[in-house]
């Protein structure tokens, strides 16, 4: 409302108008329309997920019937999904691979971002851009060489292999994000640490990491989520031993044909952990992503 008033004509003109017809003021309010737009976009994005969860509680017949919100919920599909393949094994693979690759990426990226933020050279900017540009390549372009490499060194269908691929996949983003967080860190504080006798490692452990923790946490969370949701590499490089939940979902689309209810149940179970995880850490995420702006 306030924004609307300040945007409109001088208040001496606007005041009588709103007094005559209060609804006119509400309709002209920018906040109202922004709210409507926001909710519409949110619902549009959320709808497929909502429908998927709903479908998971239907029978296969109901799932392909005329879409309806009225049905008697059943756990039939969940039961079938559980019996067909061990959900737990896939889930454990997902957890190990997502957190393992994130940890590894942070271990590599923290020193890299440190040197880029605090000891930049003439080529630092170029290196950063080059790193990001690798994210613009379609992954399928390097599928064959990576597949052959993995086959020859015995990394196919291993968690180690997947951890390596995910680490490499997320490293550019992780380095970039950490770089921006580190850049925001006042240099004086690190220099005061150096005057106090801190070695580079102590500087990082006692000063840099505690002070940029929100940023590091949100970077880590993003990396976990990206790894969890990754499907291309997991489908191509794993079969049974190291397959994560994305492969688990995919296994319901073939070869017997599409079973919508089971597929939905499996998908719901696959995304549930990361959804809960994301929801629990959302405050941390937002704080981290807006770290520089509101400091």
């Amino acid at each position: 409302m306030t924004t609307a008033r300040t945007k409109s004509l001088p208040s001496s003109h606007a005041a009588p108008l709103t007094q005559r017809a209060p609804w006119l003021g509400i309709l002209r309010s920018r906040r109202l329309w922004l709210g409507v737009l926001g909710w519409s976009v949110a619902l549009l994005i959320f709808f497929p997920i909502f429908w998927m969860v709903l479908t998971g509680f239907k029978t296969e017949a109901e799932a392909i019937a005329e879409p309806s919100l009225v049905f008697s919920p059943t756990l039939e599909s969940y039961d079938a999904v559980q019996n067909r393949a061990g959900y737990a094994r896939f889930a454990i693979n997902s957890v190990v691979v997502a957190f393992g690759s994130t940890l590894l990426a942070l271990l590599i990226a923290i020193p890299a971002a440190y040197s880029m933020a605090f000891l930049p050279t003439r080529r630092t900017k170029g290196t950063l851009l080059w790193m990001l540009s690798t994210k613009m390549l379609p992954p399928v372009g390097v599928l064959v060489p990576i597949y052959l490499l993995f086959r020859d060194v015995g990394l196919l269908d291993t968690r180690t292999g997947l951890v390596i691929v995910y680490t490499l996949m997320n490293l550019p983003i992780v380095v970039w994000m950490l770089y921006t967080f580190f850049k925001d860190m006042p240099r004086d504080i690190l220099e005061a640490g150096r005057m106090d006798g801190a070695s580079t490692l102590q500087e990082v452990l006692y000063l840099l990491l505690p002070l940029t923790l929100p940023g590091i946490a949100s970077t880590g969370l993003l990396s976990v989520i990206l790894s969890w949701n990754e499907a291309f590499w997991s489908l191509n490089l794993t079969s049974s031993q190291a397959a994560p939940l994305t492969a688990y979902i995919a296994s319901f689309s073939s070869p017997e044909g599409l079973f919508w209810a089971k597929l939905s149940a499996a998908s719901t179970m696959a995304i549930a952990p990361i959804l809960v995880f994301g929801w629990l850490t959302q405050k941390q995420m937002v704080r981290g992503l807006t770290f520089g702006a509101v400091k």
Binding site: P186, D196, G197, Y206
Partner: protein
């Protein structure tokens, strides 16, 4: 003992020479102030002494030892930063004890030293607080405390008061002077504020464009500036400069006779042998040394009048030049009045075309005074 020598120190960033060969000697227990306009290289010079920046060439010698390759923590220095640079996630006590924690000092010993520093700085009630719960002045004191516990041979201060408000700045200035006396340490202090420099220093180093313009006691710089830059930089309000020329056959052993803008000739007691008549010079005279005088040789029209109570600043237009006069607080003049004024020739300075001062024939009696000399003799005996 804590002495510092800089020998032909240079610093270049790529093609730019930030520091162009600085030689400097800092004696034990001296309070030395680096002063200059922003960008003059004073902070860079301090950072090189601290070891946060490497010197491109030259030697940094502390207590007789060359320190160029020694790390910042091992030079026996402590630094107080302009932004205080406190560790925001640590309490005041942990901030002050951090260096000892890194050095592996036992907890009890650490606490003892922190408490001692806290007592000197009256920080005892704040030891458990985090920096964000402190006022600017308190943060400043914690930063100083962090330096004190390291027991350094030399303290470095990088514009420590510039983030404080005016009243607090005056108070901290006094506290720092007191601290210098209490700790009996060598201190190097960087500021762009010439008042801080004048009030605190035993020795002032005026820097400009990466070069030392002059080194001397505050009174020496005030009364005997070596060049036009130092003359204009030290003293507030700024020194006035008037274009004059050497009057015919008037340069001799008793001084130089110069023709003032009004046509009068005045003899300024400076060494002027060899100054040909007609040579263009600049006459420098401080606002506080100009006196309103109906018989005075200079004349102009008052443009602006600032009454400060005890004093009144008159800004007087004299042809092309604008001259500032510090007059008595009760002068009755008004804007657009025409006034005549003059000065005692011994107070004036003459600068040649290169901006160098012609040396004065008489040394000012206080020129050699250090701040420590302000103490009564009985105080000094105890030191």
């Amino acid at each position: 003992m804590a002495t510092l020598q800089l020998k032909q120190i240079k610093k270049s960033f790529g093609e730019t020479d930030v520091i162009k060969s600085v030689d400097l000697e800092v004696n034990d227990r001296e309070f030395v102030v680096f002063v200059g306009p922003s960008g003059c290289g004073k902070s860079t010079l301090m950072r090189m002494i601290a070891g946060l920046e490497s010197a491109t060439s030259g030697d940094i010698v502390i207590d007789g030892q060359r320190m160029n390759e020694v790390g910042p923590a091992d030079r026996g220095l402590a630094m107080v930063f302009q932004s205080y640079a406190l560790y925001p996630h640590m309490t005041v006590e942990d901030n002050m004890g951090f260096s000892m924690r890194l050095a592996g000092v036992a907890k009890a010993e650490r606490r003892r030293k922190v408490l001692e520093a806290a007592r000197i700085l009256q920080l005892e009630p704040l030891l458990d607080r985090k920096p964000k719960a402190l006022s600017g002045g308190q943060r400043q004191r914690v930063a100083i405390g962090r330096a004190i516990v390291r027991n350094p041979s030399i303290f470095l201060f990088d514009e420590p008061l510039s983030n404080l408000d005016a009243a607090l700045r005056v108070q901290m200035r006094i506290e720092l002077a007191r601290l210098h006396e209490e700790l009996d340490a060598t201190m190097i202090y960087v500021t762009h504020d010439q008042i801080e420099a004048m009030t605190m220093a035993d020795k002032i180093v005026v820097l400009h464009d990466g070069e030392v313009e002059q080194v001397g006691s505050p009174m020496e710089l005030y009364h005997h500036p070596r060049n036009r830059f130092v003359a204009g930089f030290i003293g507030s309000p700024k020194m006035n400069f008037l274009s004059v020329e050497v009057a015919e056959a008037e340069a001799d052993a008793d001084g130089v006779g110069v023709r003032l803008p009004g046509g009068d000739v005045t003899r300024v007691p400076v060494e002027g042998q060899g100054q040909a008549s007609g040579t263009a010079l600049e006459l420098g005279i401080r606002p506080e040394h100009l006196v309103l005088d109906d018989q005075g040789p200079l004349e102009g029209e008052i443009q602006v009048l600032e009454r400060l109570g005890g004093q009144t600043s008159l800004y007087v237009q004299m042809g092309e030049a604008m001259v500032t006069i510090m007059a008595d607080g009760d002068v009755a003049h008004r804007v657009h009045d025409r006034v005549r004024f003059g000065f005692e020739p011994g107070r004036a300075h003459l600068f040649d075309a290169r901006g160098l001062a012609l040396p004065s024939l008489h040394q000012h009696p206080l020129a050699g005074l250090r701040r420590q000399d302000n103490r009564a003799p009985s105080d000094a005996v105890g030191q």
